[in-house]
Amino acid sequence: MNQFIEQIIYGIQLGSIYALIALGYTMVYGIVKLINFAHGDILMMGAYFGLLSVTLLDIPFGLAIVLSMAVCAVIGMLIDIIAYKPLRNAPRISALITAIGVSLFLENIYRVMFGAETRKMVIPTSLTQTIAIGNIKISYVTLLTVFLTIICMVALQLVVKKTKVGKAMRAVSEDQQAARLMGVNVNLTISMTFALGSALAALGGVLYSVTYYQVEPYMGMMPGLKAFVAAVLGGIGIIPGAMFGGYALGLIENLAKAYVSSSWSNAIAFGILILILLFKPAGLFGKNVREKV
């Protein structure tokens, strides 16, 4: 029983990270209808910036997280402006191929810059301790992950629902042309969406690397794909859907790893994606939209 509860807790921890990444996927998809393949690599860059700012700049861990989020937000905007903006009116397949290209580019440029070897993440010793509730041990990393994720989700909801930028985002994702006519700066809004999503992914990256103690150029690929699965699970384009999907996938994956088979766990995640797309293509929270001629 204890083991089961511990697995659930780890599942929630992993799910938090997936949810953070899935939010970025969902926001970008909602606004420009693009699967941003490079999103997983923002996670990787976030982890690198976190590691570098702790080791090179020697700043406290909390500040490193903030710095990493800020830098990734800027990079996310730059990616949008350089690679995606010229293709705004191109066929969607072109934009998707570009996204794959950006993803490969980031992975390999990081491999050139920092080497292919796995680096050990530096973790403040205070975070490695555990607290015990009854027989169940929970590490501070887990608590921090869940706590930060919830704060970010609340903050994101506030931004999207209550601020002017959020209003613009919702308007652009509803109808880009109409939003433009109403005086919304569409390109700026899209860039802001990329920035927000990238900042969340950077946080996810730091937390991911703290959880698994490692940083390497290809680390963003798998969590990126799985976060995408999570976003689709909840219905892509829907923010609460991405949160739910992230937690659901984290729990499923961890339980599958513990009780079914660890070597098949990735296959299980993809299997879930395929089943969902076949039976409920719009995701659990999405509405089916019929295609009109």
Partner: protein, 343 residues
Amino acid sequence: MKKWQEYSVTFGGIVLLFILFEVLMAQGIINNYVSGVLVLIGINIIAAASLNLATGYLGQLALGHAGFMAIGAYSAAFVMKVAKINGFQNSDGIVVGLMIVALIFAGVMAAIFGILIGIPALRLRGDYLGIVTLGFGEIIRIAIFNLDFKVMGFQFTGGARGFRGYLGYMSFEMIFWLVIIVLAILYLIIRSRHGRAILSIREDEIAAEAVGVPTTFYKIFGFATSAFFAGIAGGCLAFYQKMIDPKKFTFMYSVEIFIIVVLGGMGSLTGTIVAAIILGILNEFLHVIDQWRLVIYSALLIIMMIFRPEGLLGSKEFSLVGLIKKVMGKKSSSKSSDAQEVK
């Protein structure tokens, strides 16, 4: 010119090209190393041309091509392993026949998986289909990794250690004619009634359905044919490498083949050939700076998409007959010039 005349001119050109290669090899200008590179380029041409059928002509984004190649590779290797257990040797004349059987088996196995995957997946469109095929590709790889039980006295897939100890080899001559045969079949399919149906789905699926094209059938047909030839490419790779392991058939490999298709032009078989050759040669030069290779590839992909999204040749085909006509000043207005035919 009549159709059969055009075909014989093209065929003559191919034979001349083959003789040229043979002479260069006999002279030692093409050494073993270079001919090895040529074999790999040939395999990439088959793989990319088959992907082009699904992505370029049918218009369905497929990102799991390496999965089909893996199925083909393991199927072909399985047949040749069984042959080896039954006492055949590479020096036996019959091995070439066995290899053909193995390649066809590889293609059929991949096509069966293509149908199984295609029936549910092709209900989805665009980026969703891409993700699902990507997912299937990964599942196939993970399955190969894990299905390492003993059959007929050997390990079924060899798991992470890889699968080896089977018969088969791949020479330049074999891959040359195989490429020609595969491209000819693909070309004939595309130019046929069925090919036009496939093209109509790419142009506008709803309109195609409205005029009575059985879109579901043709989507699955195109997808399965694409998988069939991917399986053959995988089988060739297995014969050439003499050892296969699941680490080869990752998402990155799918993307590499995808890049060839995009670079050459989605909807151009000759473009695929050109791109496969360019990338194959580029690979050799970039070998020294291996870590920069994928950086350059991906930058190429992004730049290509922004400035020339239709690829090198777009959806045009290079044709010898068209070239001859152009040189002789008879700019063709006839329908049979294949330079403008495919679009």
